[in-house]
């Protein structure tokens, strides 16, 4: 590998490096500043509290890598919690039947959106916006009120703590890590993953190379739909309720995590593990703000906005220089 290729490769990883440095330094500053911050449990709590966001962000990474965007994820998460709560509580369906059904529903919804985007060449933004309206609206046709869950299997999933030495994690956190691992393997070690990068790099070239562009695109949105539904299932475990106002604005958090994780919004470049770092940074911001105690919750949004700004400008500088 010559020097130019090496520097080009390193340059592509600058956002990821910045994120990693940011994460470590935020944790370091927090540890110095606040009592009880420097502990393994704080790190594990990041995973426990953000398990659903992590799963959703993995799906979003696939979509963003193809150069698309999925605004429906938050609404699909809400719909999943609603359908789960409705079927389990109001109709007495067994959770083991409800959960696969919800996952299937999310996958099918994502696939349909991908199909419309590809076949009719409509912008992903507007199609997934319609998907968002539809999913949120369907929540309210089921019930305007929040439905709380008392099913023993769900409460068991919510309360189970898996000990790790003196620390513990929740089953949801483990599921989220499994999804990250599966996403990593699919994205970086399978043909589908290569197709995703190729499609994001240049659709024209992908088409000319004979890659299955339509199948890749619909699959990517189906993956995002599946991840959103799974995120919804995890959120149901976490909240023990179904509500149409759950996960409002989650799509923004997921996009922010993907961007902060170093994935280019124009597609074709990025890493799945970067998204994991991005989610951890978002979680850490919230943790620091809650440890600080005097800062109000809206500072989270302002800080996330500022971070987005920095990273997007950084991305522009990098891609601008590469051209």
């Amino acid at each position: 590998m010559n020097v130019h290729a090496l520097t080009a490769r390193l340059r592509g990883q600058i956002p990821l490096l910045v994120t990693a440095v940011l994460l470590v330094s935020m944790f370091g500053v927090g540890s110095v500043q606040y009592d009880g911050f420097f502990s393994g449990q704080v790190v594990l709590n990041l995973l426990i509290d953000n398990a659903f966001l992590l799963v959703v962000a993995v799906g979003m990474t696939f979509v963003v890598l193809t150069g698309g965007i999925d605004l429906s994820v938050g609404a699909v998460v809400a719909l999943s919690t609603m359908v789960s709560a409705w079927l389990v509580e109001r109709h007495g369906w067994p959770p083991l039947l409800v959960i696969p059904l919800v996952l299937l529903m999310g996958t099918a919804g994502g696939w349909l959106m991908g199909w419309i985007i590809h076949v009719f060449e409509i912008q992903p933004f507007i199609v997934t916006l319609a998907g968002m309206f539809l999913a949120r609206g369907l929540c309210y046709t089921i019930s305007i009120e929040s439905i709380s869950i008392t099913d023993p299997q769900y409460t068991a999933m919510a309360q189970t703590r898996i000990p790790l030495g003196s620390l513990f994690v929740s089953p949801s956190a483990l599921i989220a890590l499994l999804v990250v691992a599966a996403g990593f393997v699919v994205l970086h070690h399978t043909r589908l993953g290569r197709n995703v990068y190729a499609l994001g790099g240049s659709e024209q070239s992908a088409l000319l190379m004979g890659l299955p562009v339509q199948r890749t695109r619909t699959t990517v949105y189906a993956i995002s739909g599946f991840c959103s539904a799974l995120g919804g299932v995890l959120l149901t475990f976490y909240m023990l309720s179904g509500y149409g106002l759950h996960a409002v604005g989650l799509e923004l958090d997921a996009i922010a995590a993907v961007v902060i994780g170093g994935t280019l919004l124009t597609g074709g470049s990025g890493y799945l593990l970067g998204t994991l770092l991005g989610v951890l940074v978002l979680g850490l911001i919230q943790t620091v703000i809650s440890f600080q105690g005097t800062l109000s919750s809206w500072w989270t949004r302002i800080v996330i906005g500022a971070l987005l700004f920095v990273f997007i400008v950084l991305q522009r500088l990098i891609t601008g220089r590469r051209r």
Binding site: F120, G137, T141, I144, L265, I302, I304, L308
Partner: protein
């Protein structure tokens, strides 16, 4: 061209249905008439205490902020962009104005209110300029550039109001969104004036043409010497100004600023109004009249849903189908497929021995 009266009539009908404003106007008319079934006196407008009252006036009154936001959005979309930050701008403008009025010693004074308006509109220019520079100078995708302000702006609005709802009692401020002037709600007059100014600016000068050329083909318009950068930045400033005016109306109407909920999801309604009005999301052509009709359709829909007694949140389902239907109709691929299917049917029934189909329809 045939000259028979029947053909003339068919031609006239075609000319009317081909008009860009026909479909939005037809949808609005159908919605309004459908309301008659639930409320017999839906079209009644009466004068009471020097003010006009009635469902139609209400639709105009409560639709005014959406019309303004959609107007700004139309011009942004005409240049091939999109502005997601308008909802946050609505909240920030209302919060700044109410904060200034509530902290002043003379909340009812005209000077105080004018300063408050100045602060809110000035902040909007600043926010719009940030969006505009990010899009036009830094070359960031519009969705992403305005997403930053959408996320952060809501936090800023809450920071301004300190998470509380600021209430104000100020008669001059109340006029903007809740007052009446010459028997008509002032908000309607204000929105109408801004719309009129925008129509004159874009259609009586070359500005509209320049916007459409920038949206249609940025490279070609740069080559013919259009200063796209300045134009695009200006459009985002205009959008922010419209959003700020809408924010002033919303907060003035309820005499309070709510950083959390003011203008929430208005960006989506505005995009929907623009799409309904026949402006292409790909940029390159726009219709302000269509956008006003689109905004009125959305407001009428909301009113209808309230009067029928369906949970208002379920309008989202309806909106989803409208968005998809309108986008499909706008999609060249969809139209080509439909045309291909239609002509195939015609060919097989009328002229079975015609040669192999040409692919002329695909270009439609």
């Amino acid at each position: 061209m045939s000259t028979t009266p029947a053909a003339d009539r068919a031609g006239a009908v075609k000319a009317v249905t081909r008009n860009r404003l026909f479909w939005p106007a037809a949808v609005l008319a159908v919605l309004l008439v459908a309301n008659l079934a639930f409320t017999p006196d839906f079209f009644a407008v009466r004068l009471q205490g020097g003010h006009l009252y009635g469902s139609l006036i209400d639709i105009l009154h409560f639709g005014a902020p959406l019309i303004l936001v959609s107007l700004g959005m139309t011009l942004v979309i005409a240049t091939g962009g999109i502005d997601l930050s308008v909802g946050s701008t609505v909240a920030i403008a209302g919060a700044l104005a109410c904060l200034h009025i509530s902290e002043s010693t003379d909340p009812g004074g005209l000077g105080t209110v004018l300063t408050a308006l100045g602060i809110a509109l000035g902040a909007a220019v600043l926010l719009g300029a940030v969006n505009g520079l990010l899009v036009a100078r830094a070359g960031v995708q519009p969705i992403i550039a305005t997403l930053i302000l959408m996320v952060a702006g809501r936090g800023v609005a809450q920071l301004i109001t300190d998470g509380q709802i600021i209430t104000v009692t100020s008669d001059p401020y109340k006029l903007i969104g809740g007052g009446y002037w010459l028997t008509v709600p002032f908000a309607v007059l204000l929105a109408a004036a801004v719309v009129l100014a925008a129509v004159l600016l874009t259609r009586s000068t070359a500005l509209g043409l320049l916007l459409e050329s920038v949206g249609g083909n940025p490279v070609a318009s740069r080559l013919v010497g259009i200063r796209a950068t300045r134009l695009i930045a200006l459009v985002y400033v205009f959008s922010a100004l419209c959003a700020a005016l809408a924010g002033l109306m919303v907060s003035s109407n309820v005499s309070a600023a709510d950083g959390n909920n003011a203008g929430l999801w208005i960006e989506l309604d505005a995009i929907l109004a623009v799409v309904l009005g026949g402006t292409s999301l790909n940029g390159g052509r726009f219709s302000i009249g269509g956008t006003v009709l689109g905004a009125l359709i959305i407001q009428t829909l909301a009113t209808t849903v309230y009067t029928i007694g369906v949970p208002p949140e379920t309008t989202l389902v309806f909106k989803a189908f409208v968005v998809i239907a309108v986008c499909l109709v706008q999609s060249p691929v969809f139209r080509a497929k439909l045309a291909a299917r239609g002509s195939r049917v015609r060919r097989t029934t009328d002229r079975p021995y015609v040669a192999a189909p040409t692919d002329r329809e695909v270009g439609a």
